[in-house]
Symmetry: C2
DNA sequence: GGCAAACCGTAACAAATGTTACATCAGGCG
DNA sequence: CGCCTGATGTAACATTTGTTACGGTTTGCC
Protein backbone atom coordinates (compact mmCIF):
# COMPACT_ATOMS: atom_id res chain seq x y z
CA UNK A 1 0.00 0.00 0.00
CA UNK A 2 1.07 3.53 -0.69
CA UNK A 3 0.25 4.48 2.88
CA UNK A 4 3.07 2.34 4.19
CA UNK A 5 5.68 3.78 1.87
CA UNK A 6 5.46 7.11 3.64
CA UNK A 7 7.12 5.73 6.74
CA UNK A 8 10.86 6.07 7.20
CA UNK A 9 11.20 2.39 8.03
CA UNK A 10 10.11 1.33 4.55
CA UNK A 11 11.73 4.20 2.67
CA UNK A 12 14.59 2.28 1.14
CA UNK A 13 12.89 -0.91 0.01
CA UNK A 14 11.47 -2.02 -3.28
CA UNK A 15 7.78 -2.18 -4.09
CA UNK A 16 7.75 -5.88 -4.80
CA UNK A 17 9.41 -6.85 -1.53
CA UNK A 18 6.93 -4.67 0.34
CA UNK A 19 4.12 -6.36 -1.50
CA UNK A 20 5.51 -9.74 -0.54
CA UNK A 21 5.53 -8.61 3.08
CA UNK A 22 1.89 -7.61 2.85
CA UNK A 23 0.87 -10.98 1.47
CA UNK A 24 1.18 -12.28 5.01
CA UNK A 25 -1.75 -11.82 7.34
CA UNK A 26 -2.07 -8.09 7.88
CA UNK A 27 -4.78 -5.85 9.10
CA UNK A 28 -5.66 -2.26 8.46
CA UNK A 29 -7.63 -0.65 11.24
CA UNK A 30 -9.33 2.73 11.51
CA UNK A 31 -10.04 4.61 14.71
CA UNK A 32 -12.18 7.68 15.02
CA UNK A 33 -10.95 10.68 16.99
CA UNK A 34 -11.10 10.16 20.75
CA UNK A 35 -11.18 6.38 20.60
CA UNK A 36 -8.87 4.23 22.68
CA UNK A 37 -6.35 2.43 20.48
CA UNK A 38 -4.36 0.53 23.11
CA UNK A 39 -4.87 -0.19 26.78
CA UNK A 40 -2.11 -0.92 29.28
CA UNK A 41 -1.63 -4.67 29.33
CA UNK A 42 -2.69 -5.23 25.74
CA UNK A 43 -0.35 -7.64 23.98
CA UNK A 44 1.47 -6.39 20.92
CA UNK A 45 2.21 -9.32 18.67
CA UNK A 46 2.29 -7.33 15.46
CA UNK A 47 4.23 -4.37 14.20
CA UNK A 48 1.82 -1.46 14.44
CA UNK A 49 2.26 1.36 11.99
CA UNK A 50 0.38 4.61 12.45
CA UNK A 51 -0.01 5.78 8.86
CA UNK A 52 -2.63 8.46 9.37
CA UNK A 53 -3.62 10.76 12.21
CA UNK A 54 -2.30 11.74 15.60
CA UNK A 55 -2.53 10.10 18.99
CA UNK A 56 -1.19 10.39 22.50
CA UNK A 57 0.32 7.89 24.94
CA UNK A 58 -0.27 8.10 28.67
CA UNK A 59 0.99 6.16 31.65
CA UNK A 60 -1.21 5.75 34.67
CA UNK A 61 -0.46 4.90 38.28
CA UNK A 62 -2.46 3.29 41.03
CA UNK A 63 -3.41 6.50 42.77
CA UNK A 64 -4.85 8.20 39.72
CA UNK A 65 -1.59 9.95 38.91
CA UNK A 66 -1.04 10.19 35.20
CA UNK A 67 1.66 11.35 32.80
CA UNK A 68 1.42 12.27 29.15
CA UNK A 69 4.36 10.28 27.79
CA UNK A 70 4.41 10.92 24.09
CA UNK A 71 2.71 12.59 21.17
CA UNK A 72 2.34 10.23 18.23
CA UNK A 73 2.07 11.63 14.75
CA UNK A 74 1.84 9.65 11.53
CA UNK A 75 3.85 8.26 9.95
CA UNK A 76 5.50 6.34 12.79
CA UNK A 77 5.61 3.00 14.58
CA UNK A 78 3.56 2.28 17.70
CA UNK A 79 5.35 0.62 20.60
CA UNK A 80 8.22 -0.79 18.51
CA UNK A 81 10.37 -1.18 21.61
CA UNK A 82 8.32 -4.09 22.95
CA UNK A 83 7.59 -6.05 19.79
CA UNK A 84 10.08 -8.89 20.27
CA UNK A 85 9.88 -9.29 24.03
CA UNK A 86 8.67 -12.63 25.28
CA UNK A 87 5.93 -11.23 27.47
CA UNK A 88 5.15 -8.22 25.37
CA UNK A 89 2.37 -6.07 26.67
CA UNK A 90 2.21 -2.32 26.19
CA UNK A 91 2.67 -0.23 29.33
CA UNK A 92 0.73 2.77 28.05
CA UNK A 93 -2.73 3.86 27.08
CA UNK A 94 -2.92 5.19 23.52
CA UNK A 95 -5.81 7.39 22.47
CA UNK A 96 -6.57 8.77 19.03
CA UNK A 97 -6.56 12.57 18.90
CA UNK A 98 -7.74 12.68 15.30
CA UNK A 99 -9.08 9.98 13.02
CA UNK A 100 -6.31 7.40 12.74
CA UNK A 101 -5.31 4.50 10.54
CA UNK A 102 -3.09 1.72 11.88
CA UNK A 103 -1.55 -1.18 10.01
CA UNK A 104 -0.84 -4.39 11.88
CA UNK A 105 1.97 -6.36 10.26
CA UNK A 106 2.67 -9.91 11.29
CA UNK A 107 5.69 -10.02 13.54
CA UNK A 108 7.33 -13.12 12.08
CA UNK A 109 6.77 -11.93 8.54
CA UNK A 110 8.42 -8.65 9.46
CA UNK A 111 11.33 -10.54 10.97
CA UNK A 112 11.87 -12.44 7.72
CA UNK A 113 11.47 -9.22 5.79
CA UNK A 114 14.18 -7.46 7.79
CA UNK A 115 16.61 -10.25 7.00
CA UNK A 116 16.08 -9.70 3.30
CA UNK A 117 16.23 -5.91 3.49
CA UNK A 118 19.34 -4.68 5.29
CA UNK A 119 18.34 -1.04 5.13
CA UNK A 120 15.04 -1.85 6.83
CA UNK A 121 16.86 -3.79 9.53
CA UNK A 122 19.27 -0.92 10.02
CA UNK A 123 16.48 1.63 10.27
CA UNK A 124 14.52 -0.54 12.66
CA UNK A 125 17.55 -0.86 14.92
CA UNK A 126 18.00 2.91 14.81
CA UNK A 127 14.38 3.41 15.76
CA UNK A 128 14.70 0.99 18.67
CA UNK A 129 17.81 2.77 19.86
CA UNK A 130 16.08 6.12 19.71
CA UNK A 131 13.26 4.72 21.80
CA UNK A 132 15.82 3.46 24.29
CA UNK A 133 17.31 6.91 24.57
CA UNK A 134 13.86 8.43 24.88
CA UNK A 135 12.80 6.07 27.64
CA UNK A 136 16.02 6.35 29.63
CA UNK A 137 15.89 10.14 29.41
CA UNK A 138 12.32 10.12 30.70
CA UNK A 139 13.23 7.74 33.47
CA UNK A 140 16.15 9.89 34.56
CA UNK A 141 13.96 12.98 34.50
CA UNK A 142 11.42 11.51 36.86
CA UNK A 143 13.83 9.56 39.04
CA UNK A 144 16.41 12.18 39.96
CA UNK A 145 15.04 15.59 39.03
CA UNK A 146 12.87 17.98 40.99
CA UNK A 147 10.04 19.75 39.22
CA UNK A 148 12.26 22.80 38.80
CA UNK A 149 14.85 20.75 36.94
CA UNK A 150 12.21 19.12 34.83
CA UNK A 151 11.03 22.60 33.84
CA UNK A 152 14.57 23.52 32.78
CA UNK A 153 14.87 20.34 30.72
CA UNK A 154 11.49 21.00 29.17
CA UNK A 155 12.50 24.50 28.18
CA UNK A 156 15.82 23.27 26.80
CA UNK A 157 13.95 20.76 24.66
CA UNK A 158 10.87 22.76 23.67
CA UNK A 159 11.97 26.37 23.88
CA UNK A 160 9.00 27.67 25.81
CA UNK A 161 5.90 26.78 27.78
CA UNK A 162 2.86 28.14 26.01
CA UNK A 163 0.30 26.10 27.91
CA UNK A 164 0.84 25.55 31.61
CA UNK A 165 -1.84 22.88 31.77
CA UNK A 166 -0.36 20.89 28.87
CA UNK A 167 3.18 21.16 30.23
CA UNK A 168 2.03 20.01 33.66
CA UNK A 169 0.70 16.79 32.15
CA UNK A 170 4.03 16.00 30.54
CA UNK A 171 6.04 16.98 33.60
CA UNK A 172 4.04 14.74 35.89
CA UNK A 173 2.85 17.59 38.09
CA UNK A 174 -0.45 19.28 38.82
CA UNK A 175 -1.23 22.56 37.17
CA UNK A 176 -1.18 24.66 40.36
CA UNK A 177 2.15 23.14 41.40
CA UNK A 178 3.73 23.91 38.06
CA UNK A 179 2.23 27.38 38.08
CA UNK A 180 3.74 28.05 41.49
CA UNK A 181 7.17 26.79 40.48
CA UNK A 182 7.09 28.90 37.33
CA UNK A 183 6.21 31.99 39.36
CA UNK A 184 9.08 31.32 41.74
CA UNK A 185 11.50 30.83 38.88
CA UNK A 186 10.38 34.10 37.31
CA UNK A 187 10.91 36.01 40.54
CA UNK A 188 14.35 34.42 40.89
CA UNK A 189 15.25 35.59 37.39
CA UNK A 190 15.71 32.09 35.98
CA UNK A 191 12.99 32.42 33.37
CA UNK A 192 10.82 35.15 31.91
CA UNK A 193 7.18 35.43 31.06
CA UNK A 194 5.71 37.35 28.18
CA UNK A 195 2.55 37.23 26.14
CA UNK A 196 3.63 33.98 24.48
CA UNK A 197 4.45 32.09 27.64
CA UNK A 198 7.48 31.23 29.77
CA UNK A 199 10.99 30.79 28.47
CA UNK A 200 14.56 30.69 29.66
CA UNK A 201 16.46 33.92 29.92
CA UNK B 1 37.13 -16.61 22.28
CA UNK B 2 35.52 -19.04 24.63
CA UNK B 3 34.57 -16.18 26.92
CA UNK B 4 32.11 -14.86 24.36
CA UNK B 5 30.38 -18.18 23.81
CA UNK B 6 28.97 -18.07 27.32
CA UNK B 7 26.64 -15.25 26.43
CA UNK B 8 23.10 -16.00 25.36
CA UNK B 9 23.42 -13.76 22.33
CA UNK B 10 26.06 -15.99 20.76
CA UNK B 11 24.65 -19.26 21.99
CA UNK B 12 23.29 -20.51 18.69
CA UNK B 13 26.05 -19.62 16.28
CA UNK B 14 28.93 -21.60 14.87
CA UNK B 15 32.54 -21.26 15.99
CA UNK B 16 33.82 -20.23 12.60
CA UNK B 17 31.29 -17.44 12.11
CA UNK B 18 32.11 -16.11 15.56
CA UNK B 19 35.77 -16.22 14.67
CA UNK B 20 35.03 -14.26 11.51
CA UNK B 21 33.27 -11.65 13.60
CA UNK B 22 36.28 -11.32 15.86
CA UNK B 23 38.62 -10.78 12.93
CA UNK B 24 37.27 -7.25 12.80
CA UNK B 25 38.79 -4.66 15.10
CA UNK B 26 37.87 -5.76 18.60
CA UNK B 27 39.14 -4.98 22.01
CA UNK B 28 39.24 -6.87 25.26
CA UNK B 29 39.41 -4.66 28.32
CA UNK B 30 39.91 -5.46 31.97
CA UNK B 31 38.73 -3.35 34.87
CA UNK B 32 39.69 -3.85 38.48
CA UNK B 33 37.03 -3.79 41.19
CA UNK B 34 35.79 -0.31 41.97
CA UNK B 35 36.88 1.24 38.71
CA UNK B 36 34.57 3.35 36.59
CA UNK B 37 33.74 1.61 33.33
CA UNK B 38 31.41 4.16 31.73
CA UNK B 39 30.56 7.76 32.47
CA UNK B 40 27.32 9.50 31.53
CA UNK B 41 27.88 11.06 28.13
CA UNK B 42 30.40 8.50 26.93
CA UNK B 43 29.68 7.42 23.37
CA UNK B 44 28.99 3.77 22.74
CA UNK B 45 30.05 2.91 19.22
CA UNK B 46 30.77 -0.73 19.90
CA UNK B 47 28.79 -3.64 21.26
CA UNK B 48 30.03 -4.06 24.81
CA UNK B 49 29.92 -7.53 26.28
CA UNK B 50 30.52 -8.04 29.97
CA UNK B 51 32.02 -11.54 30.01
CA UNK B 52 33.41 -11.59 33.54
CA UNK B 53 32.53 -9.89 36.80
CA UNK B 54 29.74 -7.75 38.18
CA UNK B 55 28.99 -4.06 37.92
CA UNK B 56 26.30 -1.53 38.73
CA UNK B 57 24.65 1.24 36.75
CA UNK B 58 23.61 4.52 38.35
CA UNK B 59 21.81 7.59 37.12
CA UNK B 60 22.62 10.93 38.61
CA UNK B 61 20.71 14.20 38.73
CA UNK B 62 21.78 17.80 39.06
CA UNK B 63 21.06 18.14 42.75
CA UNK B 64 23.11 15.15 43.81
CA UNK B 65 20.13 12.83 43.72
CA UNK B 66 21.09 9.40 42.52
CA UNK B 67 19.39 6.11 41.67
CA UNK B 68 20.83 2.64 41.40
CA UNK B 69 19.33 1.55 38.10
CA UNK B 70 20.62 -1.91 37.44
CA UNK B 71 22.86 -4.68 38.65
CA UNK B 72 25.00 -6.07 35.83
CA UNK B 73 26.27 -9.61 36.05
CA UNK B 74 28.30 -11.44 33.43
CA UNK B 75 27.54 -12.70 30.93
CA UNK B 76 25.45 -9.88 29.51
CA UNK B 77 25.50 -6.91 27.16
CA UNK B 78 26.22 -3.38 28.34
CA UNK B 79 23.91 -0.61 27.12
CA UNK B 80 22.60 -2.56 24.09
CA UNK B 81 19.57 -0.29 23.87
CA UNK B 82 21.60 2.67 22.61
CA UNK B 83 24.02 1.00 20.22
CA UNK B 84 22.40 2.01 16.95
CA UNK B 85 21.17 5.47 17.86
CA UNK B 86 22.59 8.33 15.87
CA UNK B 87 23.73 10.32 18.86
CA UNK B 88 24.45 7.41 21.11
CA UNK B 89 25.79 8.32 24.49
CA UNK B 90 25.16 6.30 27.61
CA UNK B 91 22.94 7.96 30.22
CA UNK B 92 24.37 6.06 33.17
CA UNK B 93 27.51 5.66 35.18
CA UNK B 94 28.76 2.08 35.29
CA UNK B 95 31.15 0.98 38.00
CA UNK B 96 32.86 -2.38 38.42
CA UNK B 97 31.90 -4.15 41.63
CA UNK B 98 34.38 -6.98 41.07
CA UNK B 99 37.19 -7.39 38.58
CA UNK B 100 35.55 -7.25 35.17
CA UNK B 101 36.31 -8.13 31.57
CA UNK B 102 34.55 -6.35 28.72
CA UNK B 103 34.72 -7.09 25.01
CA UNK B 104 34.16 -4.26 22.55
CA UNK B 105 32.89 -5.55 19.23
CA UNK B 106 32.80 -3.29 16.21
CA UNK B 107 29.26 -2.12 15.61
CA UNK B 108 29.23 -2.44 11.84
CA UNK B 109 30.85 -5.85 11.98
CA UNK B 110 28.18 -6.93 14.41
CA UNK B 111 25.51 -5.58 12.08
CA UNK B 112 26.85 -7.68 9.21
CA UNK B 113 27.14 -10.65 11.54
CA UNK B 114 23.49 -10.44 12.58
CA UNK B 115 22.41 -10.54 8.94
CA UNK B 116 24.23 -13.80 8.47
CA UNK B 117 23.02 -15.34 11.72
CA UNK B 118 19.24 -15.15 12.09
CA UNK B 119 19.24 -16.63 15.57
CA UNK B 120 21.64 -13.93 16.75
CA UNK B 121 19.47 -11.25 15.20
CA UNK B 122 16.41 -12.72 16.85
CA UNK B 123 18.08 -12.90 20.23
CA UNK B 124 19.39 -9.37 19.92
CA UNK B 125 15.90 -8.09 19.14
CA UNK B 126 14.56 -9.96 22.14
CA UNK B 127 17.23 -8.41 24.34
CA UNK B 128 16.40 -4.93 23.06
CA UNK B 129 12.72 -5.51 23.69
CA UNK B 130 13.42 -6.67 27.23
CA UNK B 131 15.41 -3.51 27.81
CA UNK B 132 12.50 -1.49 26.48
CA UNK B 133 10.17 -3.15 28.93
CA UNK B 134 12.67 -2.65 31.72
CA UNK B 135 13.10 1.05 30.99
CA UNK B 136 9.41 1.78 30.57
CA UNK B 137 8.61 -0.04 33.80
CA UNK B 138 11.22 2.02 35.64
CA UNK B 139 9.93 5.19 34.11
CA UNK B 140 6.38 4.41 35.11
CA UNK B 141 7.50 3.57 38.64
CA UNK B 142 9.15 6.92 39.14
CA UNK B 143 6.68 9.01 37.17
CA UNK B 144 3.36 7.96 38.67
CA UNK B 145 4.03 6.00 41.86
CA UNK B 146 4.49 7.16 45.41
CA UNK B 147 7.22 5.65 47.52
CA UNK B 148 4.66 3.34 49.10
CA UNK B 149 3.68 1.95 45.72
CA UNK B 150 7.30 1.57 44.72
CA UNK B 151 7.82 -0.49 47.87
CA UNK B 152 4.95 -2.76 46.90
CA UNK B 153 6.34 -3.20 43.40
CA UNK B 154 9.77 -3.89 44.85
CA UNK B 155 8.39 -6.56 47.13
CA UNK B 156 6.38 -8.12 44.31
CA UNK B 157 9.54 -8.31 42.22
CA UNK B 158 12.12 -9.20 44.87
CA UNK B 159 10.13 -10.91 47.59
CA UNK B 160 11.62 -9.05 50.52
CA UNK B 161 13.75 -6.13 51.61
CA UNK B 162 16.79 -7.42 53.45
CA UNK B 163 18.73 -4.17 53.35
CA UNK B 164 16.89 -0.92 53.81
CA UNK B 165 19.88 1.12 52.65
CA UNK B 166 20.28 -0.89 49.44
CA UNK B 167 16.56 -0.81 48.66
CA UNK B 168 16.45 2.95 49.22
CA UNK B 169 19.08 3.45 46.50
CA UNK B 170 17.01 1.51 43.99
CA UNK B 171 13.75 3.15 44.99
CA UNK B 172 15.15 6.64 44.60
CA UNK B 173 14.51 7.61 48.19
CA UNK B 174 16.67 8.38 51.20
CA UNK B 175 17.20 5.73 53.80
CA UNK B 176 15.29 7.51 56.61
CA UNK B 177 12.34 8.17 54.31
CA UNK B 178 12.14 4.54 53.28
CA UNK B 179 12.55 3.44 56.88
CA UNK B 180 9.67 5.65 57.92
CA UNK B 181 7.41 4.40 55.13
CA UNK B 182 8.23 0.79 55.99
CA UNK B 183 7.36 1.40 59.64
CA UNK B 184 4.05 2.97 58.65
CA UNK B 185 3.23 0.06 56.36
CA UNK B 186 4.02 -2.42 59.13
CA UNK B 187 1.73 -0.64 61.58
CA UNK B 188 -1.01 -0.59 58.95
CA UNK B 189 -0.64 -4.34 58.49
CA UNK B 190 0.43 -4.12 54.85
CA UNK B 191 3.81 -5.75 55.38
CA UNK B 192 5.59 -7.64 58.15
CA UNK B 193 9.07 -7.49 59.59
CA UNK B 194 11.04 -10.41 60.93
CA UNK B 195 14.70 -11.23 61.43
CA UNK B 196 15.27 -11.50 57.67
CA UNK B 197 13.73 -8.18 56.72
CA UNK B 198 10.42 -6.82 55.43
CA UNK B 199 7.99 -8.70 53.25
CA UNK B 200 4.40 -8.62 52.10
CA UNK B 201 1.83 -10.36 54.21
C1' DG C 1 -22.26 44.05 24.25
C1' DG C 2 -22.92 40.10 27.20
C1' DC C 3 -22.35 35.45 28.50
C1' DA C 4 -20.06 31.00 29.08
C1' DA C 5 -16.13 28.18 28.91
C1' DA C 6 -11.29 27.55 29.29
C1' DC C 7 -7.13 28.85 31.16
C1' DC C 8 -4.45 30.99 34.53
C1' DG C 9 -2.40 32.91 39.06
C1' DT C 10 -2.66 32.54 43.78
C1' DA C 11 -3.55 31.49 48.48
C1' DA C 12 -4.25 28.33 52.52
C1' DC C 13 -3.78 24.05 54.00
C1' DA C 14 -2.42 18.97 53.72
C1' DA C 15 0.55 15.19 52.50
C1' DA C 16 4.88 13.23 51.04
C1' DT C 17 9.63 13.23 51.22
C1' DG C 18 14.25 15.15 52.43
C1' DT C 19 17.64 16.58 56.17
C1' DT C 20 19.93 16.18 60.21
C1' DA C 21 20.89 14.22 64.35
C1' DC C 22 20.99 10.75 67.72
C1' DA C 23 20.31 6.35 70.17
C1' DT C 24 20.18 1.44 69.62
C1' DC C 25 21.54 -3.02 68.21
C1' DA C 26 24.19 -6.79 66.11
C1' DG C 27 28.38 -8.68 64.64
C1' DG C 28 33.39 -8.87 64.16
C1' DC C 29 37.70 -8.61 66.27
C1' DG C 30 41.07 -7.30 69.56
C1' DC D 1 34.73 -9.61 77.58
C1' DG D 2 34.92 -4.85 75.57
C1' DC D 3 35.29 -2.02 71.76
C1' DC D 4 34.37 -0.61 67.16
C1' DT D 5 31.88 -0.42 62.98
C1' DG D 6 27.94 -0.56 60.19
C1' DA D 7 23.08 -0.75 59.64
C1' DT D 8 18.87 0.61 61.58
C1' DG D 9 14.75 3.09 63.84
C1' DT D 10 13.23 7.38 65.08
C1' DA D 11 12.34 12.13 66.06
C1' DA D 12 12.13 17.15 64.86
C1' DC D 13 12.18 20.18 61.40
C1' DA D 14 12.50 21.84 56.39
C1' DT D 15 11.26 21.48 51.63
C1' DT D 16 8.61 20.00 47.83
C1' DT D 17 4.44 18.92 45.87
C1' DG D 18 -0.60 17.98 46.01
C1' DT D 19 -5.47 19.68 47.04
C1' DT D 20 -8.97 22.72 47.02
C1' DA D 21 -10.92 26.88 46.25
C1' DC D 22 -11.45 31.39 44.38
C1' DG D 23 -11.08 35.38 41.37
C1' DG D 24 -9.36 37.28 37.14
C1' DT D 25 -8.51 37.24 32.17
C1' DT D 26 -9.14 35.86 27.62
C1' DT D 27 -11.74 33.94 23.82
C1' DG D 28 -15.37 32.62 21.17
C1' DC D 29 -20.10 32.80 20.37
C1' DC D 30 -24.81 34.48 20.48
Amino acid sequence: MEELKRIKLFAGCSDESLERLLENPCRRQEYSAGRRMLNPGDPCRALMVLVEGQAEARMMGEEGREVLVDHLKAPMLLAPAFLFANNNVVPVEVTALTDCVVWHINREAFFEFMQQEPTVLRTFLEILSERGRFLSRKMRTFAVNSLRNRVIEYLDANGSITSVAAAAEQLGATRPSLSRVLSEMVSEGLITKDGKGYKKC
